[in-house]
Amino acid sequence: MKKLVEISLGVVTSVGGFLEVGSVATAAQAGATFGFQLIWAVVLGTICIIFLVEMAGRFAAVSHHTISDGIRERFGFNVFLWPLLAALLVNFMVLSAEIGGVAIALELATGIGFQWWALPVAFLAWLLLWKGTFGFIEKGVSILGLVTLCFVVGAVMLKPDWTAVAAGAVPSLPAHNAANYWFMAVSILGASISPYLFMFYSSGAIEDQWDKSYLGANRAIAGLGMTFGGAISIGVLIVAALVLATHGINQVNDYHQLPLMLISVFGFWGFVLFVASLAIACFGAALEVGLQQAYLVAQGFGWNWGEDRKPCDNPGFSAVYTVSLLLAAIPITLGLDPLRLTIFSMALTAASLPLTVVPFLFLLNDERYVGEHRNGIISNTAVILIIALGFVLAVVTIPLQIFGGT
């Protein structure tokens, strides 16, 4: 019975914590510009993150190592430095984008410019990390994040052509704007397969003192939680396609356009739901990414770490999330467009995935760490193929997007 409660709570946490600024922005842009045609990218990204999260939990439960610990121990610090720096840089951009997402939600609610909200948001996030426990961070905000289910409700209420939705789950070539199509596909993959998601999950498993008895629960949480989470992203895409695209809004360049998706379905409450969804989802993600930065550095340099410990007992760990939050708030305070930052950071995430995922796959195939619980051929193949696809698309489309292309 206790396990069942833990699984349910884990699934709810995964669902509530799935949506963040990247998945909202990329799914909305994809739906507005390409209708249902990019649903396949969300499906692929979700499949990949299911495998990675399951692996991260299994690795932590069996080896009692976090991913960062394992990579550094197995390959040495000089090799670990590359994934460390890649993850820190990508996480920094994602953290900045998440703070920007909360700031935009507050601008939508109050009319006060988003730049003014970045530092207060970062301060509030810091305060919660400083005073809160891991359970509070992990479950509290994620449960509030269930408000994002309004996108699924909205999608169902709009009565989409489910055959067309299913057809969108099959990859197809774009009829127009090819470079933008593939760039959007990369951004969606990056938003779905953010390294912070599975790295945070592995640190969380250690914080929660998982052992082999959690392997079943881990599989259920990864499978069900991420599947339902992916369904929310698809919900955003469907609503964007049916509301924005049908009203002739084919370009989403501004967060101000996004509340119209839910206003059209729920009226004034749609506005409230959108603002709440964006604020809670992004704030939850900002807490997780801020914490993940601290986990990465503390685990990489051999410092004490643990969110449940008092800050004075692990000063390095606390200092990292403090500095990370402060630095990440600066670009938004200076007026950097959160939407552009979001889309670009998601594409960069996809490009950086091999650096973090490939060493991790080696660990999952190393008997010294996972013994009989090694990866099977299906999970290895699926993850390698999807990561390779994301990497190739990112390498091709990011320069196209920057230096010109239509």
Binding site: A32, D69, R72, E73, F77, N78, L81, W82, L85, L89, M93, E107, L108, A109, T110, G111, I206, E207, Q209, H247, G248, I249, N250, Q251, N253, D254, H256, Q257, P259, L260, I263, S264, G267, F268, G270, F271, A298, Q299, G300, F301, G302, W303, N304, W305, G306, D308, R309, D313, N314, R340, F344, L348, I398, P399, Q401, I402, F403, G404, G405, T406
Partner: protein
């Protein structure tokens, strides 16, 4: 619960390489652009106009609050001004058709400014008139766009 991993050392050479990598990535993120600004900016302007139209409908129906509506109009007016400037400055072999596109986007900006004024004054009739102007400007943009990108004989 606290956790600890063994302390480690690293060499300065790696940091220099990573710093170069960081600079490269930051340079890459400096900006995004399209090779055909006229096409891109025309689409952006058309979407912006549709956004305003939908927004004003929502505001008049009581579904969009004032602060959000005002903020969105302000943001869209910047988008339109930027689109107009980019279309105007783009190099083209057909300046007359380019001018028609620029004029249509300019009309959109004027309509949005009128909507902003109506909103601030709480004048629904003025907002409805602005919406009408915006629809006309959108039609002009659509026509100008079709002419600009029509296949050459």
């Amino acid at each position: 619960m606290a956790h600890q991993t063994p302390a480690l050392t690293f060499s300065g050479r790696h940091l220099r390489l990573d710093f170069l990598c960081l600079l490269l990535l930051l340079g890459m993120s400096a900006g995004c652009s399209s090779s055909d600004p006229i096409e891109q900016q025309s689409r952006t302007a058309a979407s912006a106009a549709q956004t305003v139209s939908m927004l004003l409908d929502a505001w008049m129906g009581g579904a969009a609050p004032f602060a959000y509506t005002a903020g969105t109009l302000q943001s869209v007016s910047k988008t339109l001004a930027d689109a107009e400037a980019q279309i105007r400055s783009a190099g083209t072999a057909e300046p007359a058709k380019q001018a028609a596109l620029t004029a249509a986007v300019k009309d959109m900006s004027v309509a949005v400014a009128r909507a902003q004024a109506g909103l601030q004054a709480g004048n629904r009739a003025e907002v409805q008139n602005a919406q009408q102007d915006l629809r006309l400007a959108s039609r002009s943009l659509s026509t100008a766009y079709s002419r600009y990108f029509a296949p050459k004989p």
